[in-house]
C-alpha cells in the first residue's frame, strides 16, 4: 500500500479545515437555541426536533407514530388544523399550510477517506471532499384531515446520472380509514421498510456507496459500500435478466444489470413503487403492514412483477423506554436471473428464480440508549442450467444467505451522541465464478463502525465516523476486477461531515 505523501496529507488537512470553515457561517445562519427548531414539521407544530427524533434524522417512538399516522399528531387527525388557509371558502375542506410548514431541505456533506490495501483502477486513496454530497428537498404534510402527502427529491452528487432532481419518493396516504389507527393506505414510490424496527432511511450512519461497475457480469466492485449489510442482496451471481437462457451473450448489460451483492435490495431497495396498508389492531400495540410493490421479472422478456410483503411489529411502552420487535416476509417471484460468465460473456440459467426474504428486528430504547438490530435471511430457488456440461458441474450455488446489522446510539449529553454499528453478511449465490478459480467468489463481509456526532442545535449534526473492515486481514484475491476481493480490499473508512436539515 502506498504511503500517503506529505502533499496528500497536507491536502487532507487543508480540506478538513476548509470544510470546517465553510460550515461555520452556515451554523450561525441556521443555528437555533434550545426550543426553537427549524424543519417543516417542527415549524408547523412549534416543537423542537427532538420531540420526534432521538437525534435527527433517526425517529423516536413518537416520531414513528407520527409517520404512521400520516404526519398527523399521534392519536389525532389534525389534518384540518385551523391555521391553514381554506381554499374555496369555509365549507370546502381543502386547506393549504404556509409553505414553510411543509417544505424542508436536508443537506449532507463530507470528507471521506477510504484506505485500500491494493490500489485499484478508478479508486483513489485521496480524501474525497464531497460538498454537498446529497441534497434532499421534502414536501410533506396533510392536505386535509387524514389525507397526507410526501414528496422527496434527492440529488446525489456521487450518482448524478441517477438522481437528476426527480421525485425520488412520492407518497400519498389515506389515513385512519376504519376506526382511528386501524388502517392507512399508502400509494406511490416509497421505502417498504419505513415502519420496520430497523428502517434504513434516516439513519445516523448514512450509507457510503460502493465503487462498482454493474454493466458487465461479473460486476467490477472496487470498493465495498458501508451500509446495513443485513438488507443487502447478499447473493453473488445474479443479474436483472433480459438474457436468453443458456446462450453465451457477449453483449454487456446496461448499468444495473448485475445485482451487487453488497447493495440493498427488495424490502429495502431505497424506493419501490406500489401500495401498502398498515394499521394498529388489538389495542395500540400491534402494527400490521401488507404491501404490494412493482418490479420487473428477470426473464428474457421482462414483465411486470408484483412483490408482496407482510410486516408485523409489536410495541411495549415502559418507563422511559420502548421495546419493539418486528418481523417481515417478502416474496418476489422471478426476481433475478442466475448467471455465469465462462469468458465469452454472461450465460443465463434456464429460468429466473423466485426470491424470498425474511427478517426479524428489535429495537430497545431506554433513556439515552437506542439499540436496534435486524437479522435478514434470503433464499432463492436452485438455479438450473441445462445445455453445456461444463456449466452444470462448474458452478454450484448456495441458495441461501443471511445478514445481521446492529446499531447502538447513546446520548452522552444533550449535544453529543455516540454510536457503534456492527454489520455482517454471510453471502450466498454463485460459489465459484469459473472452475479454474481456486478462490471462492462469494465472500462474507463484516464491518464495524463507530460514530461521534455533535449537535450544536437539534437540526445540525457534525460527525466523525470510522469504519473498520473486519474481513480485511484475510486478503483474498479476486477475479472480479481489481487485485483483491472487495470484501477484503477496503481496510478502513474514515469520514467527517455535516448532516443538517432546515
Amino acid at each position: 500500500m502506498k504511503k500517503a505523501t506529505f502533499w496528500q496529507k497536507a491536502r487532507c488537512l487543508a480540506s478538513s479545515v476548509l470544510l470546517a470553515v465553510l460550515t461555520i457561517p452556515i451554523l450561525f445562519i441556521t443555528s437555533v437555541k434550545e426550543a426553537e427548531a427549524v424543519p417543516s414539521f417542527a415549524r408547523k407544530y412549534d416543537m423542537s426536533c427532538n420531540v420526534c427524533h432521538t437525534r435527527q434524522p433517526r425517529l423516536n417512538p413518537y416520531g414513528q407514530r407520527f409517520l404512521e399516522n400520516g404526519y398527523q399528531l399521534p392519536g389525532t387527525a389534525d389534518g384540518g388544523r385551523k391555521e391553514k388557509h381554506l381554499l374555496g371558502g369555509e365549507l370546502n375542506g381543502a386547506t393549504l399550510d404556509s409553505i414553510s410548514n411543509y417544505m424542508a431541505v436536508r443537506l449532507r456533506a463530507d470528507i471521506q477517506q477510504g484506505s485500500l490495501r491494493e490500489k485499484v483502477d478508478g479508486v483513489s486513496e485521496d480524501p474525497d471532499i464531497i460538498f454537498p454530497r446529497t441534497v434532499n428537498i421534502f414536501f410533506a404534510g396533510t392536505a386535509t384531515k387524514d389525507i397526507s402527502f410526501f414528496f422527496e427529491t434527492e440529488y446525489d452528487t456521487q450518482d448524478p446520472a441517477e438522481s437528476a432532481m426527480i421525485f425520488e419518493r412520492s407518497i400519498l396516504m389515506f389515513d385512519n380509514l376504519f376506526r382511528p389507527g386501524n388502517g392507512t393506505i399508502k400509494v406511490g414510490r416509497f421505502d417498504p421498510s419505513s415502519l420496520y424496527s430497523f428502517p434504513t432511511h434516516r439513519q445516523q450512519l448514512n450509507p457510503i456507496k460502493p465503487i462498482a461497475e454493474t454493466d458487465a457480469f461479473p460486476p467490477a466492485i472496487n470498493r465495498i459500500p458501508v451500509l446495513p449489510l443485513a438488507f443487502s442482496a447478499k447473493m453473488f451471481g445474479l443479474t436483472t435478466g433480459g438474457l436468453a437462457a443458456g446462450v453465451a451473450n457477449a453483449q454487456p448489460g446496461t448499468e444495473g444489470f448485475a445485482i451487487l451483492p453488497f447493495e440493498p435490495y427488495l424490502f429495502n431497495a431505497p424506493v419501490q413503487r406500489g401500495m401498502s396498508l398498515h394499521g394498529r389492531v388489538l389495542g395500540n400495540s400491534l402494527l400490521y403492514q401488507v404491501g404490494l410493490v412493482q418490479g420487473m421479472t428477470a426473464e428474457e422478456t421482462p414483465q411486470t412483477r408484483w412483490d408482496t410483503y407482510v410486516m408485523l411489529r409489536y410495541d411495549i411502552q415502559g418507563a422511559f423506554s420502548n421495546f419493539q420487535v418486528s418481523g417481515f416476509y417478502y416474496t418476489a417471484s422471478k426476481a433475478a436471473m442466475p448467471t455465469v460468465n465462462m469468458g465469452a460473456g454472461p450465460i443465463a440459467a434456464d429460468q429466473a428464480v423466485d426470491w424470498n426474504r425474511y427478517g426479524l428486528a428489535a429495537r430497545w430504547q431506554h433513556k439515552s440508549w437506542d439499540i436496534y438490530g435486524t437479522y435478514i435471511a434470503d433464499d432463492i430457488d436452485k438455479p438450473v442450467f441445462s445445455g453445456g456440461m461444463a456449466l452444470g458441474g462448474a458452478s454450484t450455488w448456495e441458495t441461501d444467505a443471511s445478514g445481521i446489522s446492529i446499531e447502538a446510539d447513546y446520548l452522552l449529553t444533550d449535544k453529543w451522541m455516540l454510536g457503534a454499528r456492527y454489520d455482517a453478511m454471510s453471502s450466498g449465490g454463485l460459489i465459484k465464478g469459473m472452475p479454474a478459480w481456486d478462490q471462492e467468489l462469494n465472500q462474507d463481509a463484516s464491518l464495524l463502525g463507530v460514530l461521534a456526532k455533535y449537535y450544536p442545535s437539534p437540526n445540525i449534526g457534525l460527525y466523525g465516523r470510522y469504519h473498520h473492515n473486519l474481513e480485511s486481514s484475510a486478503k483474498l484475491p479476486t477475479q472480479m476486477g481489481g487485485a483483491e476481493h472487495p470484501a477484503t480490499n477496503l481496510t478502513s473508512m474514515i469520514t467527517f461531515g455535516v448532516d443538517m436539515a432546515f
Binding site: M47, G75, L411
Partner: protein
C-alpha cells in the same frame, strides 16, 4: 288559631334550618364578599372558545379521556402519567423541562395563586396551545376530546376532588396600551422587584442567579430569555405575562409576585409592557 300552628311551626323550622346551614357557610360567604369587585377566573387568552358544549365530568368521560391519553400522550408523559415516557430523555437529558409528572398535582401554567391547583380551563389551554418547543398543541383535536383529557388528568390527582374551587389570582385591570411612559414604569418595577437577578439586566436570562436554578425535580432550569417573545412557554400575550407574574410557575423557580403587586396591579401591566418591549 290551630290551623296556623302547623304553618308557623314549619316556617320556624325552615328559618332555623337555614340559619344553621348559613352558620356553616358563613365563613365562606364573608370571604367571597371581601373579594367582590375583583374578577375571578382563568386568564386564557385562547383563540378557540372552549366554553361551548363542554361535556359533563363523570366516570364515562374520564374513561374516554384515558383512551385518548393512551393514544396521544403516553410517549412523553408515560403510561402512568409520571412524565416517564420513552421520549423524555430525547427532549433533554438534564435540563428542564421534562414532560410533566401529571400525578404530582403541581402544575406550571395556572390562573390560580401560588401552590394552588389549576383551573380546568388552565389545563384545557395548555393542551390546546401546547408548550412552545416541547409539547405540541392539540388544536386539531376536537374540543370535546380535549375536555375529556382534562377530566382524565384531574382524576390522577386526588386533591382535585376536595378542592373544586382553587384560589385564583386577582385579575385587576387589563392590558394597558404600550407607551413610553408605561414601559418606563415597567422598567422601574423590573429593577425594584429585582427581576434582573435571574433574568439579567437586559432580560436575556443571564442574571447572576441564573446558572444554579433548578426545578422541583432537580433539573437545571434556565430563566427565560425575555428578548425572545415567541419562546415564552406560558404564552406571550399581555394576559399571559400578567398571569405568569401573578401565579408564578409551580414546579419551577419562578415565584409569584402577587403579594407585592397587591393594591398596585397596574404596575404589573406596566411590567408586562416593558417585557414585551424587550423583544423589539
Amino acid at each position: 288559631m290551630k290551623k296556623y300552628t302547623r304553618f308557623i311551626n314549619s316556617l320556624s323550622a325552615a328559618i332555623v334550618l337555614s340559619l344553621v346551614a348559613g352558620f356553616i357557610g358563613v365563613a365562606q360567604a364573608a370571604e367571597t364578599k371581601a373579594k367582590a369587585g375583583v374578577k375571578k377566573g382563568p386568564l386564557m387568552p385562547i383563540k378557540v372558545s372552549p366554553y361551548k358544549k363542554r361535556p359533563a365530568e363523570n366516570a364515562k368521560t374520564v374513561a374516554a379521556g384515558r383512551v385518548i391519553y393512551e393514544n396521544a400522550c403516553i410517549y412523553c408523559h408515560g403510561i402512568e402519567a409520571k412524565g416517564d415516557g420513552p421520549v423524555a430523555f430525547y427532549l433533554s437529558r438534564d435540563t428542564a423541562p421534562r414532560p410533566r409528572d401529571l400525578t404530582s398535582g403541581v402544575f406550571k401554567f395556572r390562573s390560580t395563586a401560588s401552590g394552588e391547583l389549576p383551573m380546568d380551563e388552565d389545563i384545557f389551554r395548555t393542551i390546546t396551545r401546547g408548550v412552545t418547543g416541547f409539547m405540541p398543541g392539540f388544536e386539531g383535536m376536537p374540543p370535546a376530546d380535549r375536555w375529556k383529557l382534562v377530566y382524565y388528568i384531574k382524576s390522577l390527582v386526588p386533591d382535585f376532588k376536595e378542592i373544586t374551587d382553587p384560589e385564583t389570582i386577582k385579575m385587576v385591570g387589563s392590558t394597558i396600551p404600550s407607551s413610553a411612559v408605561s414601559i418606563r414604569r415597567g422598567y422601574e418595577v423590573y429593577q425594584e422587584f429585582k427581576c434582573w437577578e435571574c433574568h439579567g439586566g437586559g432580560g436575556r436570562g443571564d442574571g447572576k442567579k441564573a446558572p444554579d436554578l433548578k426545578d422541583d425535580w432537580g433539573f437545571r432550569l434556565p430563566p427565560r430569555d425575555l428578548t425572545r417573545l415567541n419562546s415564552f412557554k406560558n404564552g406571550s400575550e399581555p394576559a399571559d405575562l400578567y398571569r405568569t407574574v401573578m401565579a408564578g410557575f409551580d414546579g419551577g423557580a419562578m415565584p409569584s409576585y402577587a403579594d407585592f403587586f397587591e393594591g398596585s396591579e397596574k404596575d404589573a401591566w406596566h411590567l408586562v409592557n416593558y417585557i414585551r418591549s424587550l423583544s423589539e
